[in-house]
């Protein structure tokens, strides 16, 4: 087990070395929630000096990884010391042409990694597992799961490329504002996949509430 002092910035934020700025931002938000001065969860676990030390390192990690130049310099240090492999470095413009068959999956690694990040939380959260035992899912259920995972609707809209108005309609059960059933199913599947849920289960159980 490494101590906080021994962790590099990626390990500290628990992100991959090629994490996108969006993922770094998400991870920082989660970590800040864990260590900030008024955090009930970490209250009394650390002395004031320890907490200040952790927060200072978190801030340094965030500012370094969010700035393209400083991140590149930091990565270079890790590469030179053999901690990081060059091909595992984040490169903003590194995008390969996708084959036509992948045209429906424009979301790339970020979406996959976010999904992978949420999956263990989904399977270990009693509150989420309890909701998933329901035969029928409501917009409120989906919102509860999303809140539990700590991702905003705007972030989901950005990842899955679905307009906010439709996602809000889904969560608010405003069926008059949702698109036709076939499109709605597609949106529900994208929403579910994005937060690490089974796309078919979510879509089918949600659509049970909509009459033909």
């Amino acid at each position: 087990m490494k101590t906080v002092e021994d962790l590099n910035f990626y390990e500290l934020l628990e992100v991959a070395s090629d994490a996108s700025p969006f993922e770094v931002h998400q991870a920082y938000k989660e970590m800040y929630q864990l260590y900030h001065d008024d955090s009930l969860a970490s209250y009394s676990f650390f002395s004031r000096e320890e907490r200040e030390g952790i927060l200072a390192k978190l801030d340094e990690a965030y500012s370094t990884l969010m700035d393209e130049r400083s991140r590149s310099r930091y990565d270079q240090i890790l590469i030179e010391s053999g901690i990081l492999q060059k091909e595992m470095q984040y490169q903003r413009d590194r995008k390969k042409l996708s084959p036509m068959s992948d045209a429906k999956r424009p979301r790339g690694n970020t979406a996959l990694r976010i999904r992978d990040r949420f999956k263990p939380i989904v399977s270990s959260s009693p509150a989420i597992q309890d909701i998933l035992t329901h035969d029928v899912l409501s917009g409120e259920d989906l919102k509860t799961i999303r809140d539990e995972l700590g991702i905003s609707l705007e972030e989901i809209a950005e990842i899955v490329k679905v307009r906010m108005v439709y996602l809000e309609a889904i969560e608010n059960d405003q069926f008059e504002k949702t698109p036709s059933k076939i499109f709605l199913k597609g949106f529900l599947r994208a929403y579910a996949q994005c937060i690490g849920l089974d796309a078919d289960i979510v879509a089918n159980r949600y659509l049970k509430r909509i009459p033909n």
Binding site: M1, T3, V4, Q33, L34, S39, L40, A41, S42, Y43, S44, F45, I121, S124, S125, P126, A127, Q129, D130, L132, T133, E148, G150
Partner: protein
């Protein structure tokens, strides 16, 4: 070999010590109501009031004056611990009431305590739930040596969280000591102690690193043993305005900074009627079977027993039909 290790080397996941560090976190409420739910599901369940000196589990499950208790076993009025078991009105539910006399405890010799722990480990039940006393005294912590499982209970208040960290740290240190007393790790433990005498007490989080540095193979084995513990955390009396994520965050802090894996198995909602049920000596889960707190307790049981979603639904249906 140390007397504890003679029986603790056997893996006995059915024994669940339930501790909270602080009084008023609802340990007895959770123990009794989880016990009732498990018994109604058909599991032969024994509740042991291990709050030595100040027992009251019997009152919470509606038994005013138990005719026999742990005191009778400790004072050798009865020969076996089985003789102190009381059958409860709920089918499959049994109770060993706690030692009533403080003198029984203050005079409890080490060998007597070992005898009691050995006797508990030999009882034949599907689940044995131990309602532990508040605090981090040896009498409380030692019950965690009985099993590789355990439940920590706290409420979303700074004082309770402060004490739960203290309890978790104490239990972890106790478990590390227990593992290091196993014959094959003794040499390694002595070498570690020679390097830093207070490593185990002051910095359990660094101890593993030190052990792995001295002997990578044995150190990794100890790490695997420690990671196999099935400790759980329950957040009790959670109100609407409380963040539902606190429990998971506490587990994350413990894993990241203590190297101890604890699984968060659920929030139990605050319900004013708990007080009323305790005052009336009535079972909460039976009287308020469809309250949110009862539903939450079923989710907690799912986390303890590893039940699937379908089984949990079946539990909900069967428990009260």
């Amino acid at each position: 070999m140390n007397s504890i290790n003679q029986y603790s080397s056997d893996f006995m996941p059915h024994i669940w010590p339930i501790g909270g560090g602080k009084g008023g976190t609802g340990k007895s409420f959770l123990t009794s109501n989880i016990g009732i739910l498990l018994a109604r599901q058909g599991f032969k369940t024994l509740l042991i009031d291990a709050d030595l000196g100040t027992p009251n589990l019997h009152t919470i499950i509606g038994l005013s004056n138990p005719e026999i208790s742990l005191s009778d076993f400790l004072s050798r009025k009865v020969a076996t611990l089985e003789e102190t078991v009381l059958e409860m009105p709920t089918p499959n539910l049994f109770l060993i009431s706690g030692a009533r006399n403080k003198l029984d405890i203050s005079n409890l010799a080490h060998e007597q305590k070992m005898k009691m722990l050995r006797a508990i480990s030999r009882l034949d039940y599907d689940y044995i739930l131990l309602d532990l006393g508040a605090g981090t005294s040896f009498n409380t912590i030692d019950f965690f040596t009985l099993s590789d499982s355990g439940i920590f209970v706290c409420i979303p208040e700074p004082t309770s969280i402060e004490n739960i960290y203290r309890l978790i740290r104490s239990v972890y240190i106790r478990k590390i000591r227990q593992v290091l007393r196993i014959d094959r790790f003794r040499d390694l433990a002595e070498k570690a102690e020679a390097q830093s005498q207070d490593a185990i007490i002051q910095h359990p989080e660094y101890l593993l690193n030190m052990l792995k540095h001295i002997d990578p193979e044995q150190g990794s084995k100890i790490e695997r043993i420690l990671k196999a513990f099935q400790f759980k955390l329950v957040l009790n009396q959670v109100r609407r305005q409380d963040s539902p994520k606190i429990g998971a965050l506490i587990c994350k802090i413990v894993e990241k900074h203590l190297g101890m894996r604890i699984q968060f198995i659920g929030n139990v909602s605050f319900d004013e009627r708990v007080h009323e049920a305790v005052c009336r000596k009535e079972s909460f889960v039976e009287k308020y079977s469809y309250s949110q707190a009862t539903l939450d307790l079923k989710v907690v049981i799912k986390g303890m027993t590893g039940m699937t979603g379908e089984q949990a639904v079946s539990l909900s249906v069967q428990s009260f039909t």
